[in-house]
Amino acid sequence: MASPGVPLSGELVKELERIPDGEKIKQCIQCGTCSASCPTAYAMDYTPRAVIAAMRAGQLEKVLRSDTAWLCASCYSCTVRCPAGIQFTDMMYALKRLGIKHGITPKDDRGQKLMATFVEDVDESGRSSELWLMAKYFMRTGPQAALRDAAFAFNMWRNRRLKLVPERVKAAEQLKAIKRALERRQG
């Protein structure tokens, strides 16, 4: 379950150590360039700059309960503009992982659900398939969105851009071996 805020921040910093330039997060000068460059900051509870402030204040759990990380479109505008060379997009990814690891559900969990579905798909077959991804995702989020996107699926199909049988590669076995090796290591 969720640990108190300060260990969460420590854990995040440790996570970032695996990433080239991840340690630069300590050098944030709170200039706000990231927030100003972010196309979705307006919809986030914590802007990118505020995420780092919250981390420093040991308030990460609040950030994880908000939708913030799941509103990140992964566009890397913040990353290329940050004067301190901080890989902020990777920080958003790290937040997503941290939330999942500690069982913290954001107030809008659709992003989490879509990602979980995607991961299952790839784990299973080695490929992702738009149709199955959507179908499973809608089963998890309710029929409303499915109806909304029926037109989308029809349009894709009509233009011969939908594969009805998901691809499954022989390499799926290799992926399973990779997955097992990692699970063993993590105990």
């Binding site: 509103l71 992982r97 851009r161 390499a171």
Partner: protein
């Protein structure tokens, strides 16, 4: 010249017209694309959000296969595959990550030494082939056509070595020899919203509307893209955009390789113009 090619799930499944036109336009300039055997999903922008070591290992599996095949370059046509594979390659420079991911790869009998250069087909056409040779391949110029080249975010971010992160002109320079006019397009590297189009529709629609209305304001006839994911986001939701914003004249979205191949003498059918969700009727007539 032969290049090892990584199609990726989206190109293979939802954008056969992109794959087809890629091959066609490359052939015309003497490039053959050999598909990497037994490739797996790169993990896109989603996988790394659950487990970064696994994400790196999965995606580096493709790099390991390319390395084993003796390739120096692995070429992709999808912005998301491009950046995901390139990031995995970069992550191998971090010692802890390399150690952990290598251990996992080993379980599948593979190893990655970090010798593969991940490249995007647009950049290969610009830098390895070059405008002069592209020009020589043009037989039916696209005179009079106004094109807005949409690069999207990931082609030049976070890796800025192949073009400007805010105003890249890679596609513009590849397509200029076709005789079409490349309009100024300030929104060229604005984000299309990626997965937000599915998880947070209203946010995604706002982003795409901004891009499309910029193209319209610049008087473009079509928007050319270099990514199967950008392509779907820009074309599939224009009806939905019309329900929220002032948008009643849909904008056709084409792959940049479709335009290139048309100018190299291919027909509308050859390049799969009929697979565009918003059909560029004027091009279909012209190149029937």
């Amino acid at each position: 010249m032969n290049y090892l090619f990584y199609p990726g799930c989206a190109l293979e499944a939802s954008s056969p017209h992109y794959y087809k036109s890629c091959r066609l336009s490359c052939e015309k300039v003497g490039i053959q694309l050999d598909e990497l055997e037994d490739w797996t999903c790169c993990g896109a922008t989603a996988y790394v959000g659950t487990d970064e070591v696994k994400a790196t290992a999965y995606s580096a599996r493709n790099l390991a296969l390319a390395e084993r095949a003796g390739a120096t370059d692995l070429v992709t046509a999808c912005n998301a595959c491009y950046i995901t594979l390139r990031k995995s390659d970069k992550f191998f420079t971090n010692e802890t990550m390399r150690h952990d991911a290598s251990e996992a790869l080993q379980a599948a009998g593979l190893a990655y030494d970090g010798t593969v250069r991940v490249r995007h087909i647009a950049e290969v056409l610009l830098n390895d082939v070059g405008p002069a040779r592209i020009k020589e391949s043009i037989t039916t110029p696209l005179d009079g056509l106004k094109v807005a080249c949409y690069h999207g975010c990931l082609l030049t971010r976070p890796f800025t070595d192949i073009g400007d992160p805010e105003q890249p002109d890679i596609m513009d320079r590849v397509l200029a020899p076709t005789g079409a006019e490349m309009v100024d397009f300030p929104a060229t590297a604005k984000c299309c919203g990626g997965m937000l189009m599915t998880t947070r529709r209203e946010v995604g629609l706002a982003l795409v509307y901004e891009i499309l209305s910029c193209a319209r304001a610049m008087k473009a006839d079509v928007v050319a893209v270099a990514c199967p994911l950008c392509s779907v986001n820009l074309e599939a939701y224009q009806d939905a955009i019309g329900q929220v914003y002032d948008w009643d004249r849909p904008m056709p979205i084409v792959l940049f390789t479709q335009l290139l191949a048309l100018a190299q003498g291919a027909s509308a059918e050859d390049v799969g113009l009929d697979q565009c969700m918003i059909r560029p009727e004027f091009l279909m007539e012209r190149f029937a």
